[in-house]
């Protein structure tokens, strides 16, 4: 491929290199110059993990062809401070704990640095606006904004430089601001995530994914792809032992690559390892797969009907897991109720959207140990499963957990590590797979979409007499964490309330939708959405204050939980007291107070977002003026 001569200044160093004409500045910095503090989170200009200065202007390097950068002066996260040092902004991020997974943080530091370079007096609204092109998924932004305001004060001389030092800790860490040990590695961009790691002679892997939700694979012809220059190997399920192929958190129902049938759009069908990424991608289009589309099932209620398409032969009823919980006598509880409320609640599929797309490396070491490096949230289990699938002794399989650039449950499933291991074994070369953002969204597990049918009986005094809770969840094409999610949803179903008579059923079913898996709260959110909505509706029906009805029913010391565990500690009373006080809650039934509630707005609440803070910022005039 024709090369382009690029001459530029990067972090004060003159650079002259030949590179591929199609490369983006991001690729040039990461691949050619090994400056991996600049990350790729989306490749589409949405997330800001790749922000760099070009001639003093902050840009997104994933949107800049490298040719545009020729002749410019580039500043990356690595160039902000001298080696071993941190800028006041980086120190402020360290001080306020403004880094969690850290993947967005180099870009955030760049955007924050740019904001104060553009306007050293920027107010908080202008700071937020100037950081508007950078997304963080872990911190909630508050600590990031705290850091920018702290750095601003120190740079302006309004606060002493030692304000950036760690606060003194007395006898206890609790109640003190303790800095994270790994923060310097993140605010400086030095921490290497899996996609930042390079090994000598490393191949790049790309995955061919199913365009169909449910289809038989009639044939896969990889010959044209294998014949391409630069392609080293193509793998399919034929490269995996068929009697042991299968992984999953609870039930091992998912093959490393589709075996004879695809069960959801985006399922891996084949993978190409090549000398470079472009060759691997081009080779994918040379693989010929003949599919025979078959009827699918896309709604969890349909999955339970007679005659529904069967997703897995081992589960002809399409049920992944049913968890029943029974306590007391529900019929008697409802008979004893003064009022019975019944309603339906549904929640949707949700993507984890960690800033770091899935990535990994595998190699076989000199002792024939298969090593997989990836941001897996479950390396021990992955190691055991892979050793079984590959029929290797456990001491010949090693998993190394690379820094996880956000997981939230979405990196618990071994959806790509197996492919890497097989290529490493076939080629005896290191191999890397970096998902694109789109691939991450299409191939990774999601939060279970759920439907809850809820029936609650209450006395006029607000006391719950019985609950019937029936949840149906769409587990998607593979079991993944569904079983555990259903258990947790059942255990937490009726909330932190003591209910003497309850009947709870949670069920996850197979469909041909994207698999559902682990996601923060692990089923608790879906259950609590239903229960807490029901509590508010009950308060309305009984003309009670929402706090009051919760206090009447809350679990206390000595209460028996839904699963018959006797509590020796309980804190909901204090939780409710604190929430009521801090929200300046206006007592009363929620539906009779009109739109002028006294507890809305105020100094510590956030106004709706708007744009244009910089138009008024730093001006003495009380008029909003642009021109």
């Amino acid at each position: 491929m024709p090369k382009l001569k690029i001459e530029l200044d990067v972090n004060g160093r003159k650079i002259s290199r030949e590179t591929d004409a199609y490369k983006r500045l991001l690729d040039f910095l990461r691949d050619d110059l090994n400056l991996t503090g600049t990350k790729e989170g989306c490749g589409a200009g949405e997330c800001g993990t790749c922000s760099v200065f070009v001639d003093g202007k902050l840009v997104k390097s994933c949107l800049m062809p490298v040719a545009k950068a020729s002749g410019t002066k580039i500043e990356t996260i690595e160039g902000l401070a001298k080696p071993g040092d941190l800028t006041p902004m980086q120190k402020a991020f360290h001080k306020t704990g403004a880094s969690q997974c850290g993947y967005c943080i180099p870009g955030m530091v760049m955007a924050a640095t740019s904001a104060l370079r553009q306007n050293p007096n920027a107010g908080i609204e202008e700071i937020k606006e100037r950081l508007g092109g950078n997304i963080c998924r872990c911190t909630g932004y508050t600590k990031i904004f705290e850091a920018v305001e702290l750095a601003k004060a120190v740079i302006a001389g309004d606060m002493p430089e030692d304000a950036l030092n760690e606060d003194a800790v007395g006898d206890s860490y609790i109640g003190h601001n303790v800095r994270r040990l790994d923060a310097p590695s993140k605010v400086s961009g030095r921490l290497r995530y899996a996609a930042d790691m390079k090994m000598h002679d490393m191949l790049q892997l790309q995955v061919l994914r199913s365009p169909h939700p449910h289809a038989n694979i009639v044939s896969i012809d990889t010959s044209a792809a294998e014949a391409m220059d630069g392609v080293v190997c193509v793998i399919t399920s034929a490269d995996v032992p068929d009697d042991t192929d299968g992984f999953g958190v609870f039930v091992h129902d998912q093959p490393i690559m589709a075996r004879g049938v695809v069960r959801h759009v985006g399922e891996a069908v084949a993978a190409v390892a090549a000398e470079d990424l472009v060759t691997a991608r081009r080779a994918l289009s040379k693989i010929k797969v003949v599919y025979e589309e078959i009827a699918g099932v896309f709604d969890p209620e349909d999955a339970l009907k007679d005659g529904a398409a069967i997703v897995h032969d081992y589960a002809p009823d399409n049920v992944v897991k049913h968890i029943p919980v029974r306590k007391g006598n529900v019929e008697a509880g409802f008979a004893n109720a003064d009022i019975i409320l019944e309603d339906d609640f549904s929640t949707q599929q949700v993507e984890h959207a960690y800033l770091e797309p899935e990535a990994g490396i595998a190699y076989v070491d000199a002792d024939d140990v298969i090593v997989v490096i990836s941001p897996s949230q479950n390396i021990t289990h992955h190691r055991h499963m892979l050793s079984h699938i590959l029929k290797k002794p456990i001491n010949k399989v090693r998993f190394i957990m690379s820094p996880v650039g956000g997981g939230f449950g979405g990196k618990e499933d071994m959806i790509y590590q197996g492919m890497l291991a097989i290529v490493a074994m076939k080629t005896h070369r290191p191999v890397q797979l970096n998902f694109t953002r789109e691939e991450s969204i299409i191939a990774s597990a999601k939060r279970h979409p759920s439907r809850v049918h809820y029936k609650m009986g209450l006395k006029w005094n607000g006391e719950i007499t019985a609950i019937q809770f029936n949840m149906l969840s769409d587990g998607g094409a593979y079991g993944m964490s569904s079983e555990g999610v259903m258990r947790k949803a059942a255990i937490l179903s009726c909330g932190p309330y003591e209910v003497h008579n309850l009947s709870v059923d949670t069920t996850a079913v197979y469909t041909n939708n994207t698999p559902s898996g682990a996601f923060r709260t692990f089923g608790g959110m879906q259950a609590q959405f239903a229960t807490e909505s029901m509590m508010d509706m009950a308060a309305e029906a009984l003309e009670m204050d929402p706090f009051q009805i919760r206090r009447i029913n809350m679990m206390k010391i000595g209460s028996r939980t839904h699963t018959q565990h006797t509590l020796t500690a309980a804190s909901l009373d204090r939780c409710l007291d604190a929430a009521e006080k801090e929200s300046r809650w206006e007592n009363g039934t929620p539906n009779v107070r009109g739109d002028k509630r006294s507890d809305l707005g105020g100094d510590d609440t956030r106004a709706p977002c708007t744009l244009g803070a910089r138009f008024t910022s730093g001006k003495n005039s009380d008029k909003e003026r642009v021109a």
């Binding site: 199609y22 983006r24 694109t436």
Partner: protein, 306 residues
Amino acid sequence: MLTCDTYHMPTNLRDALEIWSGAPEGSSLISGATDILPWAREGRAGDVHIPSFVDVTKIKELDGHTVANGRVRLGANTVYQDFLTDASLRHLLPCMPYCAIWFADDQIREQATFAGNLANASPVADGTPPAAALNASLELARLDGGNIKTRQLTVSDFIVGPGRTLLQPDEIITAVSLDAVAGYGGSFQKVGQRRSLVISVACCAALVKADSTGRYFDDLRLALGGVGPRPMRLTAIEARLRGERISHRTIDQAAKLAADEVASRSRQEYRRDVVIGFVKSALEEALENQPDIDVTYEDLGETENA
């Protein structure tokens, strides 16, 4: 993934036109590149190979801006951030800073050009309503027997439909000319699915000048985006309000007329509601944003400090 065989960065217009007219079939002109890179990805165009890119951003004739005969001539390399940072442009084109602040984010605005936004001809481009309000015309250059020939097209003639323009295969956009309207109050309304980095569902640009008493509409310009295949100037409403006494009732009545202009094929009812609110807010904010005039609304009998 976007790949190419060659990437040209000509530094003068003649070289650029020569390279462009000789570029292999399927080649592409490129300006800020902020739209084409996200386009060449899974779910949109997928992997795309372009034989040659001809990047216009280093062409020196396309830089900067000039003012003559009541018009601002923006070189095609003018980026959105310039409308926020260049004091002269802020003064001459009072609705553009408000448009720019809603466009993408600070970083993308450093690369994304106004001319490129018009060339993409998206029905929901943020740049088309203010362009229509400012009577924009595009200057297109091509080689004709070795000479550089230019022609002018108004933005409403240039954009013929979603993604379709009258730009000919050998032409390059060299400039966008706009009315210089210093002294007008400007505003821009936009709704999308979130605040930053979002494409409009609908947007509206306004420019207003009250008379010296601050009581009457002297002149106004209104344009909508996202409600039809092309940018839409609300000339009937402009004519109705010109010379009228400024009052909330007058503005409300005019705003209601705008709903009938909604011609988009999806979410019609929603867009009708939005447009009524947008025209009202756009006019009120533009009145308030006038640099030298304090407006008095008739209905309230009180002075609203703009």
